[in-house]
Symmetry: C2
């Protein structure tokens, strides 16, 4: 396959050692791109990059985007940026409100400034369904408003969207904003499946589930997420291009809990803490309208149940490999 | 009139020495509130506060919100905050992209953190029509999306809205978000009238107008803006309350230029630089739907033309007083 953007110059991927970033880097390298990964390894892992093989066509720069610094040199001559770096754990942001401001909003600002300094013409930004807050329309389209996020994570995604949009207008950057559903897959270091398996490892007799279990969301496989971004990037060329990325269906936390318990041997009792929300800032109902990306011709390979099943099976295998 | 919020404790007004803030402080003091003004006097002026008379019931703390600091002590025991401080000049933000991030987004974060630390239960935030970017629906309702701001100023207002909304959800703050049309009135240190009079002072024979003059926007008088905020704050009590504030009509830049030239004696030739936008980040067409605040029973005293006429007359008189 040809390089996805105009020829010449490497591609910068921030957060490229993360669960989504690693698969994106893999796809970009396969397409013949030279990739520069910038990651502070706070949730990304160097070991994730093992799957890329020897560093022909890619390099990792361990650096933090909260401050301007030598990492911006990697933007020299770059043809485009994929800005995926962020705090990935929504709940941590409620405990430490500065986290998403710094690793989200301020990091995005520094990335956009580095692009402006080095005349990098295209940016892709990983936003989130959390910008919609508690929507009243399901499935929720990209044109939904008002955007009143419930979490500091969502606030920082909204802030970053605004920055990306303003830079497009003021400095001519071509921009892609992708609002992700819940993304699950291998290499995850947080999230609902990760939590459930951790809890069962501590106490195999019971699984505590935050909320009443009726929270229902779309779960998108990492591979589908990466595929959708590349698909849209190749096919739309407005000044600001923005898409929901999801599966078009959803699955409840209760169903996920039951699947995990079954995969774990079936002995655990599921205990719900009650209440409609899992935690302050949680969005109990999330269902993104995917008409816009679908009209481009893209389709997810896994629906929400399929994405959850595959991810549970991977997690079960990886735990059984570790404990063997 | 009774104090506007629950009794006990002073009211904090950031940016309280600015064009809007001063009138707000005046109204709050008149209603019997003790007011603590925090202003860095970057665009606010100490002289503005002369109209308040001797400091019974108010005090000014000269401080910058970009850093956490002793100014946060003023939040101790406060019953509510009006957060108006920001860079008021949209065009300056394009020249210096860090300006709106620091004086907008980061300042808002510090204000919300100070509120959290001191358990201040209510916040009012001055947002802007610029969060709508270039809307495709006129008049533009509060539920309009997507929110793709064109300026870094707009991006910082959107970022601050997101923070205000997330704090309401995570920490229980009651929040008011007001999206202002263009606000004009006395005490302004920037804006279209200010620019036009400055240009005519330099060269009375010609008035250069950025763009083609067909840009058309709502102009809301400062007094109406303050009145609408107090009106809404007294009457709505959702967790997050958000309102467009405008006049329900608009006026073109061409009409404003002709009014200014007439007020100036009529001799100047108007020259348009051309193009639909005045500058990068400019929103040529702005018309806010005001159904939501109207349904509460609020009505602007001046329409856009009336607001412009009164402000031109004030400016003309103040110039003639200075040059007499």
């Amino acid at each position: 396959m040809p390089p996805i953007a105009r020829p010449g110059g490497p591609v910068v991927v921030t957060g490229g050692a993360g669960a989504i970033g690693t698969l994106l880097v893999e796809a970009l390298v396969k397409r013949g791109n030279e990739v520069r990964i910038i990651d502070n390894l706070s949730s990304g892992r160097r070991a994730h990059l093992d799957r890329l093989g020897r560093p022909d066509g890619w390099k990792l720069v361990i650096s933090d985007l909260r401050q301007d610094g030598p990492w911006t040199d990697e933007f020299r001559g770059a043809r485009e940026v994929w800005h995926l770096a962020a705090n990935p754990d929504i709940r941590r942001g409620t405990e430490d409100p500065r986290l998403d401001l710094e690793h989200g909003t301020i990091a995005t600002f520094h990335v956009l400034e580095a692009m402006r300094r080095h005349d990098v013409p295209r940016v892709h930004f990983s936003s989130s369904s959390t910008v919609y807050g508690m929507p009243t329309i399901f499935p929720t389209p990209e044109s939904y408003g008002p955007l009143l996020p419930e979490s500091l994570y969502g606030a920082s995604k909204l802030a970053s969207e605004g920055l990306v949009s303003a830079y497009a207008s003021c400095y001519g950057t071509t921009s892609y904003i992708f609002r992700f559903a819940n993304v699950i897959g291998p290499l995850m270091t947080h999230g609902v499946l990760f939590d459930f398996f951790e809890k069962l490892a501590r106490d195999p007799s019971r699984l505590e589930v935050l909320g009443d279990g009726r929270q229902a969301k779309s779960y998108l496989r990492t591979e589908d997420c990466v595929d959708a971004m590349l698909f849209a990037s190749e096919r739309t060329h407005d000044r600001v291009n923005f898409f929901n990325l999801g599966t078009g269906d959803r699955i409840s936390v209760r169903e996920i809990a039951e699947k995990v318990v079954r995969a774990h041997g079936g002995g655990a009792r599921i205990e719900y803490t009650g209440g409609t929300r899992g935690w302050p800032g949680d969005i109990p109902q999330q269902d993104l309208a995917i008409d816009k990306i679908s009209r481009l011709g893209w389709k997810a390979r896994w629906n929400s149940a399929g994405a959850v099943d595959l991810s549970i099976e991977e997690m079960r295998q990886s735990i059984s490999a570790r404990t063997r």
